[in-house]
Assembly symmetry: D2
Homo-oligomer: 341 residues x 4
Amino acid sequence: MLDFSSDYTRLAHPRLLETLTGARGAQFLPYGTDAVSDAAKAHIRTICHAPNAGVHFLLGGTQTNQLAIDVLLRSFEGVIAADTGHVSAHEAGAIEHGGHKVLTIPHQRGKLTADTVARYCETFYADGNHTHMVFPGMVYLSQPTEYGTLYSRDELHALRKVCDRFSLRLYVDGARLAYALGAKENDVSLADLAAVCDAFYIGGTKCGALFGEALVVPDPAITPQLFTVIKQHGALLAKGAALGIQFDALFQDGLYLSIGQNAVALASQIRRALTEKGYKQPLVSETNQIFIELSDTRLLSLQQQVRVSFWEKADDSHTVVRIATDWATTQQDVDALLALF
Amino acid sequence: MLDFSSDYTRLAHPRLLETLTGARGAQFLPYGTDAVSDAAKAHIRTICHAPNAGVHFLLGGTQTNQLAIDVLLRSFEGVIAADTGHVSAHEAGAIEHGGHKVLTIPHQRGKLTADTVARYCETFYADGNHTHMVFPGMVYLSQPTEYGTLYSRDELHALRKVCDRFSLRLYVDGARLAYALGAKENDVSLADLAAVCDAFYIGGTKCGALFGEALVVPDPAITPQLFTVIKQHGALLAKGAALGIQFDALFQDGLYLSIGQNAVALASQIRRALTEKGYKQPLVSETNQIFIELSDTRLLSLQQQVRVSFWEKADDSHTVVRIATDWATTQQDVDALLALF
Amino acid sequence: MLDFSSDYTRLAHPRLLETLTGARGAQFLPYGTDAVSDAAKAHIRTICHAPNAGVHFLLGGTQTNQLAIDVLLRSFEGVIAADTGHVSAHEAGAIEHGGHKVLTIPHQRGKLTADTVARYCETFYADGNHTHMVFPGMVYLSQPTEYGTLYSRDELHALRKVCDRFSLRLYVDGARLAYALGAKENDVSLADLAAVCDAFYIGGTKCGALFGEALVVPDPAITPQLFTVIKQHGALLAKGAALGIQFDALFQDGLYLSIGQNAVALASQIRRALTEKGYKQPLVSETNQIFIELSDTRLLSLQQQVRVSFWEKADDSHTVVRIATDWATTQQDVDALLALF
Amino acid sequence: MLDFSSDYTRLAHPRLLETLTGARGAQFLPYGTDAVSDAAKAHIRTICHAPNAGVHFLLGGTQTNQLAIDVLLRSFEGVIAADTGHVSAHEAGAIEHGGHKVLTIPHQRGKLTADTVARYCETFYADGNHTHMVFPGMVYLSQPTEYGTLYSRDELHALRKVCDRFSLRLYVDGARLAYALGAKENDVSLADLAAVCDAFYIGGTKCGALFGEALVVPDPAITPQLFTVIKQHGALLAKGAALGIQFDALFQDGLYLSIGQNAVALASQIRRALTEKGYKQPLVSETNQIFIELSDTRLLSLQQQVRVSFWEKADDSHTVVRIATDWATTQQDVDALLALF
């Protein structure tokens, strides 16, 4: 059956699996201290124009968010996030498990604005009782957002300014970063992220890797002994080379970018076709996700032929569903999908 | 260069890498809810004679220990472990990070005895101030131990009795379990572990997998909502099938057992040869690890030709080193190694 | 200067200070194991019709909430609270510090309804992704609420029913419980609370004590080793008798009730008088708090003569302030206050 | 019955109870922001020659240790303590509850030496695997120690040097500090402690207060937003004035010092007398504690007439007990005690 339910249904991009298999005879130093991991990290530093950056390969998005938030916040601080942010709702309390409150604020199409953040902080510091409350300590964004939308470079710079004004760290969750980089509307490079963030991660799991995320900390002085903290969080992979090899391959020959571009191009095709066919798209994304509203009857019959994912109820008899393309989606898949509409 | 430094220097057993590569076209349900993971879990339940067991695939040893200890202990309890136990010293405080004290007690060749545990508990409850202290809540063992030694079935039953007497949970860290199962001296089967433990894990990472450990909870009623707890710990893999596929392969055609047997047989060969050559072996293991004492001068020259791992200083001019075989060690490797002595 | 800013501006009711002073020569067993503490606990059990209840004297409201939530929740659960609940906003993240998320839901005059809680839980369990989210594990109420309003016995029973339906614990924060018990509209006795709650606390600090809250757990089997947990939280007072003596005095000769009745009677007087004088009261309380809206100009001049407390901005030029009576408020104080209006 | 079991059997020094009672009519700003608390803090800063110090009144020793360790350590660090240290054994895991490991090292009569600490750190950093282990982050001492012994100024300076060498914070638990200050052998003043420590606390509970400890942080820049952290820990007293008033009284007219001197003088008298009578004193203290070994038979009969406290078993038929004097002990008490021997 066709499956457009998410961008993590397949194991990994064939080139990554081949590289892993090709290395089966080799012996590696443990815990990511091997030469391939070093090379992959060096490559990422170069692309990010961040020659001193700490680069740490971790295993998944929730783990990376939990760890980054834990090391960037002080104990009396919480993290500002959109109420739609992944850390707010869908990480089973991982952030609170680490002792921190998620301070949710309203969003626009999944995005925070510099103004909303500033207003939150102004109200906080104006409150005579604010020392009895959780201090805002960082801003959590995702690029692209959970709605598939993108921050522009200008928007990120405006957010950075607010962060500086209120001594907030800025962190970007790049679980689907390839699909941001591959979007035509995107004007934010990896180097831009490194320039503007205290930390961000380059998503592997949803962008072609078997698993793995690359946490980038442009100024590693702010995260002392991060290796040990990673171990303490149960997040250190004994065979770290398995991560290094994948990220090395993802950044060879522009693979990461091309993965993003192909998926986004196919998503745009679907989006246009569905628009032409008159389907209501309540959330318009610029990346690899398409959101359409269907009558429940229509959805039930569609589900006989393709897996899509439930997003939210639109009303009593209509549902918004998400269609996602990924690195493995082909033109044939898209044609087959569109034939159903 | 020859490398006998550990049992996790190579990525994974070729059969596992092939299976992963073979599945590159398939689409899987996420988070380990796929059919292959289900099959692998069912298989493990069968081998363990534990038809209702919860089986959960996790990513590494420290993560698994941290999680298991967290769910098995109540907040006012600590875990009894040998001072040489992995959780005591080499997990960067992962257990304390979860809020629990490690209650260390003396060991014999890496092993705890039922008597030592009983005495600890008797002393604890006899202390008039014990309600001001951390209650012993579980016993942590490793099979084989960090010294490569083995618990017998009788010893495990004796420990279980003490656990029952003092309401302790019993947990076994099986990071290297294949090498226990593959040892001639071993009389403890997976079914024995399931019968005697509240939880234990079957190690993948050090026994041929790219990564992964299978946590087995014979009576899953004691770990409600463990899926959510795993997510909360940042330990849930989006592409859970990557774990299911590996454990499915490890338990096909006796692969897991044969991995253990081969490594242990080669280790025994090395052990015998070094004994004949007169090398002092301060710790005698029954599994895949060999410990020998060398003069520092000798060690320095040896290190030009083979990687071994530092264990401890014997005296000012002598060092104990560890030699480890694994699933990938060949007779040629062993011959080449022995030629150096 | 007149001070109506809160109900904790004076040290303690004279009778409590006298009793403490009177006991200055005596020697007590430590940590609350003394005979006076035992007597006070026994008395509370009797009043609560809860002969087996665990009664634990703690030092303050945030500490008690933090501890109770910690022991009543499992690690994957959060606490449902009104977004105005003390635990939601004004405890500096104490609940998250303990690893738990506060799940805020809308309130009516500071109160939760059984319906709102039920709807929250229904939505939660209907969500296909709910195992990736924090489970609702308990309901936090305050009696009286932060708005000074009261739950009726019927409302509490309705909430209990919802709790039973969704396996939630029910906890009541009684920081100002004397002022609920002393209100004419109140129909909830201590015995009712013990019948309906898994735990609740009888507030001392805001009701005449120098400090101290009495946590009542009707079925102590649900909180094993609570003494040790209290110690672990840094919440165990060495001279526990200082708490026992105060609670003993508070429950002699109906002192606790009469403290509440006097304060509420005076508050009602103020409320009526201000209504007659035409002051807008945006929140109407039945207990010891009065909320009035003033122009900012009026407020500034008022503050020259009496301390009241800021509640919230009504609009750009108006402010809502809180006036609180307590056990020490006299008719003269009230007359002097009303003379200012 | 005579009671020499501890130094916290009586409520409080009469002068403190009188001052509290005297203030019963007054109204205070909450949370320790009142004028008396300010004055007490200013006084402590003066005595400590630490004009910028943060001074925070907390409620008990375990709470203060837990809080101080939490704010002074980074997440990957543990605290070095004597295995006899209060934080090691008798705080029910409060330190681990905060996420930190207690790194125990051997002691001499309850004291750590600069050498032992240095050796621990040297060994740690020499270990090739130390990044997989908990980093030493601070040294915890008690003055006087749990054995009643004292650090000299020279010893503290030597420890400070080691701390500087290994980037460790130095923290002193002064639960019984009055009895150190009041000892003839003592050459460490409050100003010395402020000069040498990153933080320390001046004990109230065991030195005449109803409850309360004064945490002193000579350079408050190292503990940002400590007020909020205190609230988050459930350690903020609403009626903070109750603490301020007591510490104000303790430091009026040399009360704190004289409390210590009297108790120590009486303890010395007891010690000398018991020595003359030939009692074995296995631990010799310079402060308010006396340790003697008794046959179990003798102890049983003694316990009919005086409460002393169990310290440890000496052998199968002998026990070491502790006798403690405090601010309330009189010459008559001592005479009555000695008449029993």
